[in-house]
């Protein structure tokens, strides 16, 4: 059978088995095993692409090119991480007796289901399928956000669902308008919505309808990616969802939504010329980076802090594509890769600290966590260095590449603003994380004693991803590098 179908079938079956129930060890083994197998299949699919036989299924409705293969591998990797850390996360909560049967069902069912939807997004060559898959990720994440059933988690889930659905309605309208712009040239039936078909007939698309469609689709998928000003659901959702689910959203959904944004951008570029959608992406990207600044400085919650980091990084990737230079596009895709390694580390270490202190609010965690949870705190510092783009870590190089291409290209002023924002954000994160990790506890009498750190499954996963992230700084495997190049080829060369 086709590799593409296997890659989708395995997480789907895992989700079904997880939702049905059973003993805990069985569920843990199914989820982690299923997601590990999924990751292997993602690698195999990417391998088949690199071998020169692009995998496809359903009459090219699903098709893997360079961009798909890169996003697929990153999503598969994050899915495995999330499953492994997630099993450990739920064990910790089981030990405290705060897990209900509903939570178990939702957790073991929805995490693989989410992975399935992400992989479907990253392989879709059909704008209709792409929309359906993104909608599935949205629906899967609602119950993960309201997982803890607190007042605030219901609020976050509601805001997320309303804003997300609205964004998706816009994306659907955009898709319809894109389809309308090619009436007569795209042809009837399923293949009329194929991205490859759009690229073939790009010069014949009706400009007014296309322009309107591109704007709606970029706003719609931009909402899912968390580009400002449609980012407001992100801090709420990231605070409330359990850390393993947040990682799926912060890396998987971000990559998947950017994948959609890039596909739309490429259609626009092929038909209307580069200026139109590049200008939009550059503006939205800069706005995201700038909007993150004040909120990082006044932040009161560690997971919300990381949510603003996520908004910043989506912005950086959008800027990289929007600058309109090949080196910047390469930088943006390299950034996506390194971000997918560093962000899980950040959420896992912060999540562990939060879980052991029973809260993610700064005032409940207090100062000087280094003395109470040394390993998680050290990993959080490492993660902070990575996500703020400090040398020698990977994100430093990708940001440097985008900045270099920006100053050499047509938008030096925008690049200067971007650089200034990066510096402020670095200081903001250093200040906030320093406050948590360093110093003596402010009021020893008042402080709640956290649970002790243990080398459980969650901690092992965190250390594992830290090792991978550090090694990747100095050594990216040749096939991964080839994937990034192939993806650049797609985004810059249009296929």
């Amino acid at each position: 059978m086709n590799l593409v179908l296997w890659t989708l079938a395995v997480p789907l079956v895992t989700a079904a088995v997880g939702a049905l129930g059973g003993a805990r060890p069985f569920k843990e083994v199914t989820m982690v095993g299923g997601l590990a197998l999924t990751f292997v299949l993602c690698l195999a699919t990417a391998g088949q692409f690199l071998g020169g036989r692009p995998p496809a299924a359903f009459a090219d409705a699903l098709r893997v090119d360079g961009l798909s293969a890169l996003v697929l591998v990153l999503c598969g990797f994050v899915g495995l991480l999330s499953g492994t850390y997630g099993a450990g996360y739920l064990r910790r909560n089981e030990a405290r007796g705060v897990v209900t049967p509903r939570m178990r069902r939702e957790f073991y069912g929805l995490i693989p289901a989410y992975v399935f939807a992400m992989l479907l997004v990253s392989m879709s060559n059909n704008l209709g399928i792409m929309w359906i898959a993104v909608e599935l990720t949205t629906l899967a994440s609602v119950f993960l956000i309201s997982f803890h059933d607190r007042d605030t988690s219901l609020e976050a889930a509601w805001k997320f669902l309303v804003l997300g659905s609205l964004g998706l309605a816009f994306a659907l309208l955009g898709t319809v308008l894109l389809f309308a712009s090619g009436q007569g040239s795209l042809g009837e039936g399923m293949s009329g919505l194929h991205w490859t078909r759009f690229m073939q007939v790009a010069p014949e698309l009706h400009p007014f309808t296309l322009r309107l469609g591109v704007v709606f689709a970029l706003i719609g998928y931009g909402t899912k990616a968390g580009l400002a000003p449609m980012h407001t659901w992100k801090p709420d959702a990231y605070r409330e969802a359990p850390s393993p689910a947040v990682v799926l959203m912060a890396v998987g959904m971000v990559n998947g939504a950017l994948y959609c944004v890039l596909r739309i951008h490429l259609i626009s570029k092929a038909s209307l010329g580069p200026g139109f959608s590049e200008g939009l992406l550059l503006t939205l990207g800069l706005l995201s980076v700038l909007i993150a600044m004040p909120f990082v400085l006044i932040q009161w919650n560690i997971k919300r802090l990381l949510a603003y980091s996520s908004i910043e990084h989506v912005g950086i990737m959008a800027i990289g594509v929007g600058l309109g230079a090949e080196a910047a596009v390469f930088g943006a895709l390299l950034h996506m890769t390194y971000h997918s390694l560093a962000k899980p580390l950040a959420f896992f270490s912060a999540g562990t600290i939060a879980q052991l202190h029973s809260s993610s609010n700064f005032d409940r965690i207090g100062h000087g966590t280094f003395s109470r949870t040394p390993v998680a705190s050290a990993l959080l510092v490492l993660a902070t260095l990575m996500i703020t783009g400090s040398p020698p870590f990977g994100l430093f190089f990708s940001e440097l590449m985008i900045l270099g291409a920006g100053f050499a290209g047509a938008h030096p002023a925008a690049t200067a603003v971007f650089l200034a924002a990066l510096v402020v954000l670095f200081c903001g994160f250093a200040y906030q994380v320093g406050q948590i990790v360093l110093g003596p506890p402010r009021d020893p009498a008042d402080r709640r004693v956290p649970q002790p750190e243990r080398f459980d499954l969650g901690m092992v996963t965190t250390i594992g991803v830290a090792a991978v992230a550090v090694v990747s700084t100095f050594y990216l495997p040749a096939p991964l590098m080839a994937l990034i190049r192939a993806a650049t080829q797609v985004v810059w060369g249009g296929g």
Partner: protein
């Protein structure tokens, strides 16, 4: 003949949206949404007959079954269970809201003339109504406080998108259409469950109370 049916049904959808803006009883608002979806079904059927586009029969059938019967029934059951039947005072009063929606309709019609064939008699109205409906749906969404009304606003936006699809394309591919219908059902179910959880927790479905998360 078909032109009159099309224009009348499209106009009827616009009227139903205006009535939704002026309405406070939740049951009536849900019924208005049902009527609006029925008219969307009529538009699709008329197009299917007049332009002999078979796929549009499926669109029409899906629309009527799901959006005229299933979704309104589910929403009414939710309202019944919750026992809250009226919208509280919206952020804007009714006369102001109606005036703003009038302006939005003008904007919708203005934009529609940019489309290919957008100034021809029938499709001008269909696209114009669709864009106006979209804007009114967005307006409802930001001015209403009840969770159920926000769902209905979202569904109105979704109806508008379908009307655009019928008006400016030769119909979306069938598989995509089914996929979208499936997703819409799921979304309404999820929204319904969430509303029940919200009411169970806050003893109200006033979403303006959801204001703890800031910064």
């Amino acid at each position: 003949m078909t032109a009159y049916v099309l224009i009348l049904s499209a106009a009827g959808m616009l009227v139903s949206a205006f009535l939704m803006v002026g309405q406070k009883a939740l049951f009536t608002t849900i019924r208005l949404y049902g009527a609006q979806s029925l008219l969307l079904g009529v538009v699709a059927t008329t197009m299917a007959i007049s332009e002999s586009r078979q796929e549009l029969f499926v669109t029409a059938a899906l629309t009527v079954v799901l959006k005229t019967f299933l979704i309104p029934w589910f929403l009414m059951r939710t309202v019944d269970r919750i026992g809250i039947h009226r919208e509280i005072e919206p952020f804007l009063n009714v006369p102001t809201s109606l005036l703003i929606c009038l302006g939005l309709t003008v904007v919708g019609y203005r934009v529609s003339s940019g489309f290919e064939g957008g100034t021809q008699q029938v499709s001008h109205h269909v696209i114009g109504v669709a864009l106006s409906l979209l804007l009114i749906g967005l307006f409802l969404m930001v001015t209403r406080k009840k969770a159920i009304t926000q769902i209905l606003a979202l569904l109105t936006v979704e109806n508008a998108v379908f009307l655009v699809a019928i008006g400016v394309t030769s119909g979306m591919p069938l598989i995509v259409e089914f996929g979208i219908a499936f997703d819409v059902i799921l979304a309404v179910l999820v929204l319904g469950i969430l509303v029940q959880r919200l009411v169970g927790r806050f003893e109200s479905m006033d979403v303006s109370r959801l204001s703890k998360l800031k910064g």
